[in-house]
């Protein structure tokens, strides 16, 4: 009885610490975003904000974050769209290929994902310069697709493998073409996998900083993370505005993940249970 109680208590305390450890920095900037200028520099620090929207106003007006947001949406959105379309086709092909070959190719794809960004940064920059794609959306979308594709292919391959071949055979006999079977039967049954892969790609492209800084030197094309980083002037660090802008950047992701929570969980645990 007491042993059981102790175990449960230890569990709760452990979970609490893990949660606090990951959430505190996040909560700190959320609270900062809703403070006033005097609250943010107060000593001792004030934990509970006054829910002032001053910093949001400043971020929107003085720093014009809306166009960064728009750039981010365009870049992350197109990245996701392109990655998922390519990933779906490749994943399907790999799922239906002989195991041995599929395995080799998948390992190759994984190897590609292992290059450190800094190693590929220079060639990417040279390539984009040659193409005249610096400071263009496609100039950022292209490397993002290259970087997110391996993950998307892996997730989708595993997912498509779970779909019984009999279903495809049935649709072929029913009169579908191969492509028709893919579109009408395989894809609709893979929505959890498509969701998971999409969200992960979107988050990657949405948060990516290094390449965005490298490729987009023109403020008109910069994405949110770069925009926020450039808030600071030579002598000032506008913490409040940065916190507010970060809040605006993060909120859509959190809402999206919460909304599609159930589907993502099924997506990540695919293969664990037979449907």
């Amino acid at each position: 009885m007491s042993k059981h109680f102790l175990r449960k208590a230890a569990f709760i305390v452990g979970v609490f610490f893990a949660l606090a450890f990951s959430l505190v920095p996040f909560l700190l900037f959320v609270s900062s975003a809703f403070k006033t200028q005097s609250q943010i520099t107060a000593i001792p620090p004030q934990w509970w904000p006054s829910f002032s929207l001053e910093f949001f106003r400043s971020a929107l007006k003085n720093y014009g974050i809306m166009h960064y947001l728009l750039n981010s949406i365009i870049v992350a959105g197109s990245t996701t769209l392109v990655t998922i379309s390519l990933g779906a086709f490749s994943g399907y092909a790999l799922a239906r290929l002989t195991r041995k070959w599929a395995h080799l190719i998948l390992m190759g794809i994984l190897a590609c994902a292992m290059f450190p960004q800094i190693a590929i940064a220079a060639p990417i920059w040279r390539f984009l310069q040659l193409m005249g794609w610096l400071n263009t959306y496609q100039g950022l979308v292209l490397p993002y697709v290259a970087l997110t594709l391996p993950l998307a292919i892996w997730i989708l391959t595993v997912f498509f493998r779970e779909i019984p071949r009999e279903l495809e055979s049935a649709s072929l006999v029913d009169g579908c073409s191969r492509f028709g079977a893919f579109i009408r039967v395989v894809l609709p049954l893979s929505t959890p996998g498509l969701f998971t892969a999409s969200i992960l790609c979107f988050i990657y492209a949405w948060n990516e900083f290094f390449l965005a800084l490298l490729v987009m030197t023109d403020p008109a094309r910069q994405t949110m993370p770069v925009g926020i980083a450039l808030f600071q002037g030579e002598y000032t660090v506008p913490w409040g505005a940065i916190a507010a802008a970060s809040f605006i950047t993060t909120a859509p992701l959190v809402i999206m993940v919460l909304l599609f929570q159930r589907r993502i969980v099924t997506g990540l645990s695919a293969g664990a249970i037979k449907g």
């Binding site: 055979s169 649709s171 072929l172």
Partner: protein, 357 residues
């Protein structure tokens, strides 16, 4: 409605020969059962007929027309899969209508055909449900319906009853037979279950390891098995099979086995080298307590299956199974006498039936 002809079809996967020179015909409206143990290539064969797999050699002809270059869609066959393969994201109605939609049939016509088929199979009240909300038996009906609704030229069924529980299987088997008499579509039915083959088939094709062993009506397959494989594969309990030698003594043929002799009445048959395998079905052996009625045997075990009992007894070192009536009370260790009628013997030389030669 169409006839189906298979000519010398072979298929290999790497080094494994899945099918080797298969040839047979299914007449228009005939119910043909492909019977064989698991892994004998039956399902591969069905996929070849459907066009899902392409054979390495030989041809498949539907109504005399070779279909090698036709896609599954163009072959106009319908298939019921072992695991039903219902589209999980569609309602029953949409599952039924899928094939018609793919073929561009008008909406009104599709609705009409769905209702017609659902009525025939008694699934009208399930039309709005999804496959996961159905029981095994209901899923099986929907799978049948999806194949039926198109009125295909040929109906292919891949072990459609194997996922049903025993009692349901018997019912659905009867319904299937009734359904076939109603619609008279040429049917190729794959199973490893001999009872399904015997009860459903107009014609049974027995195969093993990609080879056809016998093609005939069910009763002939049972009464005159072409070889020892067919003899042992069909019939439950399994046929008694033992080795023996045929010798001619004083103008009479005597079958000598290790433990006993049998007088045989052959009729100008070719016994080859005389080394035979002798088969006798359990129901062709009589069980008696009177010594003059046959071979002296010791009872080892009695199995009671309800309508009858099977006596497993030993004559010397040879084990024999015989059928006894349900009222017979025999106990283990008892001495009984087994009567074997020579005319009921199946004789095989080098695995092949002597009658068959």
């Amino acid at each position: 409605m169409a006839s189906l002809a298979i000519e010398n079809v072979s298929k290999r996967f790497g080094n494994v020969v899945a099918l080797s020179r298969m040839s047979f015909r299914v007449e228009d409206g005939e119910f043909c059962v492909l019977l064989g143990p698991s892994g004998c290539g039956k399902s591969t064969f069905l996929e070849i007929v459907a066009g899902l797999t392409i054979q390495d050699e030989g041809s498949v002809l539907i109504d005399g027309r070779p279909v090698e270059n036709l896609s599954p869609r163009e072959r106009d066959v319908a298939m019921v899969f072992q695991n039903y393969a219902l589209y999980p994201h569609m309602t029953v109605a949409r599952n039924l209508g899928f094939g018609l939609r793919m073929r561009g049939v008008s909406k009104a016509m599709i609705a009409k055909k769905i209702m017609e088929t659902a009525g025939l199979l008694g699934i009208t009240e399930l039309l709005d449900r999804r496959p996961r909300e159905l029981s095994g038996g209901q899923r099986q009906r929907v799978a049948m319906g999806r194949a039926l609704v198109r009125r295909p030229q040929i109906f292919l069924l891949d072990e459609p009853l194997s996922n049903l529980d025993a009692r349901l299987r018997v019912n659905v088997r009867l319904e299937l037979k009734k359904l076939h008499t109603q619609i008279q579509t040429t049917t190729l039915y794959v199973t490893h279950d001999q009872v399904e083959a015997m009860t459903l088939g107009d014609k049974v094709v027995v195969m093993r390891e990609g080879k056809i062993h016998q093609i005939d009506r069910p009763e002939i397959i049972y009464n005159k098995p072409a070889d020892t494989f067919v003899a042992t594969f069909i019939g439950s309990p399994v046929i008694n099979l033992f080795k023996g030698t045929m010798t001619k003594q004083k103008g009479r043929f005597i079958l000598e086995t290790r433990d006993f002799d049998l007088e045989s009445m052959p009729d100008g048959l070719d016994f080859g080298n005389g080394e035979l395998e002798i088969g006798i079905r359990p129901e062709d052996i009589t069980v008696s307590r009177e010594p003059e009625k046959g071979l002296r045997a010791t009872v080892e075990m009695v199995t009671n299956v309800g309508p009858e009992k099977y006596v497993h007894a030993r004559v010397g070192a040879t084990s024999l199974t015989a059928r006894a009536g349900k009222e017979v009370s025999i106990v283990n260790g008892e001495i009984i006498y087994l009567g074997i009628d020579p005319s009921k013997l199946h004789l095989f030389n080098e695995g092949k039936s002597i009658r068959g030669r």
